[in-house]
Assembly symmetry: C2
Homo-oligomer: 457 residues x 2
């Protein structure tokens, strides 16, 4: 076991391939359905939104897909990211556990999101795309895609959930600094946005609504614009596996292997990026690492949702996928972890959870900010409210190990920093934050609106 | 020459010593004078403000001073920092120059400032100090010291220049998240603050005023509180030399040696931290690297100031030192590079500039934001407005090399990121920023108030 604190890799250790978990999945994938016909979608339908290379990645069963050199060249601006042993946090907790974190906050946009944004911008550029549309919640995804589009000379329209647009002006300015256009969603730029405004003029927006707007703009652009999604889809999660592949090498340098791997989940991409390479090892060697997905009690799609077919967006324009969902019409409470305010969950992750290959746990907002403050004061880095969900469960695992007198090796994904979420920390410090109960009635109502799909995979 | 982009060092390569340039200085140091008597100060006078270990470092002529293990342990949370070849910026400029930057923005507080904050907190803790006071402009220094005090269990009062306190709430919240108390200066907590408020109720404050307040609180605390300064002093600049020592090793990995080393200067610490180890090599081997200090045209202490004895603060409570100064009563225009709004300059740097060992250049605000935007779009990282001064001159050097068809190896210090300065970028993007002419009349008036000191070193 190493006595070092930070485990850095050289540029030459940057992974050459993404890992496609579908090659090893013991669960057959459910079909992806057309939102109007409920029939399995064709590549042609998806081609309205995505370039063919990404569609092929979405359905690929190849185990490894080579990372194009232009993508690796940009990864090199911030990758490989450090793996850090949180020695000061261990001391503060007085735990025999060893806590490691993969620090994805060091990317220029401040989170893991550029790992897929850069890849998606590259494939779009290669296919001749001139302009992209997307949605963003707290702004982590939007700023990552703005960064990537800037690098490849693509225009970008970002539909930003209105509550975040108002609460987080710095994120908006960051996107504008990279050259993107940002709109508060619901907007009056789309049919769907106007219909939401008409029904509820003070709508705070949601990721589901913003996705619908971004999809509508691309789908009605006569091919001039494509759409880009920051989570949920197979190819997006696959691009994030550089995180886990690096972490495997770095744990090796540390001379340890994690017994628990932890990440927060909204759509699932940072968790999957870290966990899927460890899932591969589990499937190969027999289960030896617990993989724990952490969600907010305010949007508990894994722990309280239904595992069924549902629309990816609120307006029913995106494809229908089989996933753990709270219902596409569910508008989550305005927690500060905006990146986790999504009604659904990645289909692959949903399937693995259903199959018992991963665990899930929901944690309330106040407990996550308490954990964030503990981490900031122990390790110095102020984490994103999303990442604080992973930190909460990491601390709980470390305290459990302490109570049981066990050494336990824990690895979590520090998916982003909280520099643009400091008003939330101020509210927490002033005692102005609150927990949200599980919104059982809203979820029950939303579940009534699930699509009546006959197909079951 | 390496074909890599990022040059990372292992934790084991972290420097074991700081470099004390005074051991090699060809210029004898001028005396430090008591602000009331104009006599050389005694250690006893300084001991009211600083612990003895730091006073001894301030006057030391030892070439290397060992970095204590507890300080190195905390450095390891973010050091060694990366050296990056700015290949995308080179391409964007079409220059044959090779541009490297040392990325100090990766520290938890977002700048180079923790390099000395951690050391100062350590020596204070070791001396039994319970509580520190300090000033901060834009907040980079205050958040670094808040981080460091948190690590060593010290209380901290930060006197934050009012204009920044109002413009940059995120920086304040960051300090509070680390557990510090932050006050908008001028405050009503000190005699001097109250006197400024009485004379000009709407005072935007200045670093000079904030220093006076922080010094007054420590000096009148009957030893309960010490004071900490983020730049200017010998020991502060020395703590920053870890930056240059690492850069020397990393340039070696890159297989090149810089012909030009560039840094922005307010008090001088990030520039000195990078440049002094290269100055050592210049003094040993004969001049081979140009060392360029970049200041704002709004506070041009090197290029337009007087080289003479002046007070370090506005209230004439801090010691008198020989430096390039615009006069201690000069209140700089409210440029966004708050960290550069200081009337004076580090004595060592002033002496080296006077001796022709380093160069200086002043650049206007708009040109620095233009450079910042170019850098952000080329390399992804949004720089601090302070660091943008170094980037401006780096780009000008690279374009000059292009015009002359010369290969030129340039190294600059990316002293911090601009995450908490995004409103300034918004103003720039909207065309709302302005340049400030050199405030000749205000400087002339301030120079009339210089202390009438008979001593000349």
């Amino acid at each position: 076991m190493s006595d070092q604190t930070r485990f850095t890799l050289n540029e030459t250790d940057l992974p050459r391939n993404w890992y496609n978990v579908m090659a090893d999945s013991p669960v057959p994938p459910a079909p992806v359905l057309h939102p109007a016909t409920f029939e399995p979608v064709t590549p042609d339908f998806l081609a309205v939104l995505f370039p063919m290379d990404l569609i092929l990645q979405e359905v690929s069963t190849e185990r490894y897909i080579e990372i194009p050199e232009p993508v690796r060249d940009i990864y090199k601006l911030y990758r490989p990211t450090p793996l850090v042993r949180a020695r000061r946090l261990e001391q503060m907790l007085g735990t025999p556990a060893h806590i490691y974190y993969k620090n994805e906050s060091v990317s220029p946009a401040g989170s893991h999101k550029p790992n897929t944004a850069i890849a998606q911008a590259f494939y779009n550029k290669a296919a001749g795309t001139k302009s992209l549309t997307t949605e963003t919640g707290a702004g982590q995804w939007g700023s990552a895609l703005a960064l990537a589009c800037n690098f490849f000379g693509l225009d970008l329209e970002v539909y930003m959930v209105r509550v975040s647009y108002d609460q987080k002006p710095y994120r908006r300015i960051m996107m504008e600094t990279y050259g993107a256009q940002v709109f508060a969603s619901p907007t009056d730029r789309t049919n769907y946005g106007r219909s939401v405004q008409a029904k509820s003029p003070a709508s705070p927006g949601s990721l589901g609504i913003a996705i619908s707007e971004a999809v509508e703009v691309a789908a009605t652009s006569d091919g001039a614009k494509k759409y880009s999604l920051g989570s949920v889809l197979n190819h997006v999660l696959m691009h994030q596996t550089v995180v886990g592949e690096e972490a495997l090498k770095q744990m090796d340098l540390a001379g340890e292997y994690p017994q628990v791997v932890i990440g927060c989940v909204g759509g699932g991409s940072n968790f999957a990026g870290l966990a899927y390479p460890f899932l591969r090892q589990n499937l190969k060697d027999g289960q030896r690492t617990r993989l724990v997905a952490v969600e907010p009690t305010a949007t508990p799609s894994l722990t309280k949702g239904v595992y069924t077919f549902d629309y990816g967006d609120t307006a029913k324009m995106a494809p229908i996928v089989k996933m753990h969902t709270l219902g596409h019409s569910f508008v989550p409470p305005s927690i500060h972890a905006g990146g986790l305010r999504y009604h659904g969950m990645a289909p692959s992750l949903s399937a693995f959870y259903d199959a018992g290959l991963i665990e899930a746990i929901a944690v309330p907002q106040l407990a996550t900010f308490e954990a964030a403050l503990t981490f900031a004061r122990a390790e110095g880095i102020i984490p994103a409210p999303e990442s604080a969900h992973a930190i909460r469960v990491t601390i709980d695992e470390a305290l459990d190990a302490k109570a049981k007198g066990e050494k336990r090796v824990i690895l979590f994904n520090l998916s982003g920093h909280g520099h643009f979420d400091l008003t939330a920390f101020q509210a927490y410090l002033r005692g102005q934050l609150e927990d949200y109960e599980y919104p059982a009635e809203a979820v029950q109502a939303a579940i009534q609106e699930l699509p009546k799909v006959a197909v079951e995979a």
